[in-house]
Amino acid sequence: MAPLEPWQKVLVDAEEFPLTVHGYLPCTDCHSGTQSSDKEIAHEGLVARPSDGAPNACSECHVDVASSYENSLHSTLRGYWTVLETRSVPENHAAIEQVIGNHCARCHTTCGDCHVSQPASVGGGFFDGHLFLRTPPMTRSCTACHGSRVGNEYLGLNEGYPGDVHFRQGRMSCMDCHKNHELHGDPALCTQCHINPEAAAMAPADHRYDGLQSPSCESCHADVTLGTSDNDMHSVHGADLACQVCHSITYTSCDGCHVAISEKTGNPYFQTEATYLTFQIGLNPERSYTRPYRYVTLRHVPATADGFSFYGENLLPNFNSLPTWVYTTPHNIQLRTPQAESCNSCHGNAALFLTPDKVDPVEVPANRPVIVPAVPSSIP
C-alpha cells in the first residue's frame, strides 16, 4: 500500500467525525493545544498521540480496557525482556534496555495505533478520517506490523504457498480468532469461571505463549479433543501433536539479526543475514497442561549471540539457555497437507524433523531441548 501524503495522514472526515461520540469532545480534551486559526499557536503544547503512556486520554473514559491494556504484550513488549533477561546477566541489563529502547520499542502499540491510525511502521496516518474503528482493519493495522511472517502466511503471499484456509475460504480476519479481551490483555474471561484466589492473582503474560491457549483451535474444532472426530489420525495422535504439525505448511524463518545506530543519520537500524522458508517439526520445549504436545512446529528466529555487539561485548553470555528454533504457530493452516497425506508421509520422513544435522553446530547446545534425536520410524 502506498504511504499516505502528509495531509492525508491528518485529514479529519468533516461529515462523519463530528457525529461520532468522540466528535462531541473538544479536540483539546485529548490533544491539548489551543483553539486558534494560527497553526503555531494552535499546536503549542499539542499531544499528537494522546494514547501514549498510562494513564492517557483514553483511560479517562475507557477505564476497564485501559487498566488491563497496560499489562498486555502489545503494550509492555514483555516477551522481549523475558528472552533477553534469560540470555543476559543483570550487569548487562542497562545496555539491553538501551537496545530495546532503540530497536524494539517501535513495536509498542497504543490504543490509537489500532483504533485510529496506521502504525508507524507503514508511515502512520488516520485509517479513516480520524473515525474510531472498533475493529482494526486487518491489513492496515494487524498485518502492517505482523506482516513478514504472520501476514505473508495468512494472506498467501509466500510464493507457491496458499494462504490460510480460514482466510481463503472463511474470509476471517485476525480478530475473528484473536478477540478483544486477548488483545487488551484482559484476564477477565479466565476469572469469570476460575474464581479461586490463584486465578485472581494471575500474573500478566510474559511471552506470547504464556498461560492458556487463547485463541485455541479446539475452541471451534471441539470434536478433535472430544474424541468424536471421524478422522483416525486425531484419535491416534491425540494431544501428542500440535495442530500445526499436521495442518500447517512451509513458513518463514530468519537468521542473524544485528542492530546498530547509523553513523550517517544517527538512526537505529537492523540487518538480518537470511530469510528463508522452512517446515520443521521438533520437540515441544515447554510441555504444559494447555500445550501438552510432544511435537510442535519450530521456526528459526534471527537471534544471535553477537547481535548486540554494537552496544557492548558479550551482552548475552547465556545465549544458549534458550533455543533459536522456537515453538511457533504458523498462520497458514490447511485441511490437507503433504505431511498428513498418509502415515508414512510423516513417519520415517527425516526431511520434516529438526534433527541435529539441520542445526548450525554453534547452535546445537541451545537447541538440544527441541532437536528430535530419532525420527519416528515408518509404519510397515
Binding site: A14, L19, T20, P26, T28, A42
Partner: protein
C-alpha cells in the same frame, strides 16, 4: 398520544448512521477519499460550543489548508535496515 410517540421515535433516529464504515470488512485496503469534503465553519463541540468555531476541525477537514501549512518532517525510521524485521 400515539402520534406524539411516533414523532418521538422518529426524532430519536440517528441522523447519519455510520453505514459508510465497514467494521466487519476482513481487509481494509481502501483509503477513503476525503479530499473533497470542505466545511466552512464547524461549531466547537462539547461544553465550549456557544457559537464558537472549532479551529482544529476547520483546518483538519480541509486538504488545501493542510497542504499549505504542512512541514517537511523527517521520518525517523530504520532506513538503513535490511532483511526482514
Amino acid at each position: 398520544m400515539f402520534l406524539a410517540g411516533i414523532l418521538l421515535l422518529v426524532s430519536c433516529r440517528p441522523t447519519n448512521p455510520s453505514a459508510s464504515i465497514d467494521l466487519d470488512s476482513p481487509v481494509g485496503l481502501d483509503i477513503p477519499d476525503l479530499s473533497e469534503q470542505v466545511v466552512e465553519a464547524i461549531p466547537l463541540a462539547g461544553a465550549e460550543s456557544a457559537g464558537e468555531v472549532n479551529e482544529c476541525l476547520a483546518c483538519h477537514t480541509r486538504q488545501e489548508r493542510l497542504v499549505a501549512t504542512a512541514e517537511q518532517v523527517e521520518e525517523v525510521g530504520e532506513g538503513e535496515s535490511s532483511g526482514v524485521g
